[in-house]
Symmetry: C2
Subunit: 349 residues, 2 copies
């Protein structure tokens, strides 16, 4: 599909591996605690309250574009919003992350995951997208949590290092696992479609914790569900980004799930990632967010190494390998944007 | 060097990639909270108190050998013991892990890391090794934390997801970083040598969190220091195991650091790991510890897949890809040992 308002933007053209003049850049979690203007409007309490307030959510979405001049905005929201909205019972605790009072444990818990009706359940998301798109002169990226990563929160009851209960369910009761993943894929699809209909020019599927899985576990338990989300979104015509952390061993499979762009963390260089993902997909990444804490000079050097590894390929969006760390200095991030815009040339091949 | 009491054991022969009849097996954290007999003698309070008591520490070291019939014991200790013993100010909080009241932040903190005199600073470690070796009829594995993983606790002040301060120090102040790593390598060397002198038949260097690093960061900031530890231990003649989690991208470098055995987590299959590590090194791993929670049948199937991926290679020690999870059922682990002993054939090539 074409004819979108931002089809000629560097960001959308990079997603489609089409020629464009300079490497686009945005940062995961660019709207967040590292920004004083974010802390000024965010308010206290659950992030879900701020997300449910389109005034604040739209303003927060715009902040990093104003400050950094990045090439895309990303919706201010959270991956647990759909599960929360259908009443599963999940909240987000400041400093901890998503917490679930009654974790998913048996077939009965499937009933707590009814289909999402975005207009009725998450009208604030739609309204935030509309307002942000109206105010922005760069593409807005909508997003959802991938079924596995959302499942891991619902099963573990909160953040987890080993995701052991989640894996035990996946391996020990495959039938129930796939039903859970089906429901979560439906939630992601409904939410993403509603965001695109409201004006999002691209979508990102966050499978942040997929990297805890072995390639076989991912193949059997996860890939088919993420592929269904991404393939269904294909009919909207907007570019689809597929992201995870520590997914070096999964990049070939993630590339096969149907996204236009595959996210790469800092453990694999862009040239090696391109070899693994294969032709026809763009890449997004992969500056180590921790390097931003080492100061301007170190961050600039590292950004240049990322650009060098991309070697002018048109299918590339500069980003961090994971979200902006809260203790990041916005001035250092601003210099990274400057380096990418000044030196990130795209070569026609 | 040869002539060690256990040179003909399956475990030591596997470490040396020498022919032997059946695949040896042990489990990282086999002595731990998953065992009722452990919980019965462990006592409350800091694990450092139990480690400093050779009666308890030796008994705990023996427990999993008695229960499972594994092919090696591993010393009951902790990677922060040397730093604690020289007075850096580190404790281990139950349920949390190592915590440091005044994290490493500047050059002045180097003074808090004086050399370790094992006979004076950690006599209890030496005594525990002696007692365990006397009681055991299988090899005892001594261990130390690798400089990077210990540094990450000292710099972060506790467990961390992103290890951002540690990386920022490594990248932002390379001179200070290398001095810190030098001191920590000295601690590891002194502790490991004292364990071998007391009778340990092998050593394992735990670089559990090395997988958070990019290959470049590892090459510049970590590999030389781990290599120094492993090379120095080479003069003792005992096999050296080098372990980390999420190190798929680092396996070639870890193989190059000089260990006889490279540990592999569950993200990379043994056959692929062998390709990355290269010839002449044995491998150890790599059952996903989370699969143990899925029950006997799933764990047995997964153990057979690991054996199949090894395909009878003599340079292989069966283990988990990471430590035993506290909620593991010991009976399931016992069945895994049985499967490995019954079906883990070594083929002469």
């Amino acid at each position: 599909m074409s004819g979108g308002r931002f089809d000629d933007s560097d960001f959308v053209r990079a997603c489609r591996s089409e020629p464009h003049p300079r490497v686009p850049v945005w940062f995961m979690r660019q709207a967040g605690r590292s920004l004083p203007e974010y802390r000024a409007v965010r308010g206290t309490g659950s992030i879900l309250d701020a997300i449910a307030d389109p005034d604040r959510a739209a303003e927060i979405t715009l902040q990093p574009v104003d400050r950094y001049g990045v090439d895309a905005a990303i919706l201010f929201s959270d991956i647990v919003v759909p599960a929360h909205a259908v009443g599963f019972g999940v909240d987000v605790e400041p400093g901890t992350g998503p917490v679930v009072s009654r974790p998913f444990a048996s077939r009965r818990d499937l009933d707590r995951l009814r289909p999402l009706d975005p207009a009725a359940d998450t009208p604030y998301v739609i309204e935030t997208v509309r307002r942000a798109v109206e105010a922005l002169d760069v593409p807005l990226i909508g997003f959802a949590g991938a079924p596995f990563t959302v499942a891991s929160y619902l099963v573990e009851g909160g953040p987890s290092r080993h995701h052991a209960r989640t894996k035990a369910l996946m391996v020990g009761d495959a039938a129930l696992w796939h039903e859970l993943m089906d429901r979560l894929a439906d939630l992601a699809i409904a939410s993403l479609v509603s965001q695109v209909e409201a004006g999002a020019a691209a979508v990102q599927l966050f499978d942040s914790w997929a990297g805890v899985l072995s390639p076989d576990q991912y193949r059997r338990g996860v890939a088919p569900h993420s592929a269904r989300v991404l393939e269904t979104l294909g009919s909207t015509g907007v570019p689809r980004i597929h992201f995870g952390v520590g997914t070096g061993e999964l990049l070939d499979q993630m590339g096969g799930c149907g996204a236009d762009v595959v996210g790469v963390d800092f453990r694999v260089s862009i040239d090696e990632a391109r070899r693994r993902v294969g032709p026809g997909r763009a890449l997004q990444g992969n500056l180590d967010p921790a390097v931003v804490l080492a100061g301007e000079s170190a961050a600039r050097d590292a950004a240049r190494e990322v650009l060098a590894a991309n070697d002018g390929h048109p299918g590339f969006i500069f980003n961090l390998g994971h979200g902006v760390l809260p203790e990041s200095d916005p001035d250092v991030l601003a210099r990274v944007v400057q380096v990418v815009h000044d030196e990130g040339r795209v070569l026609c091949r």
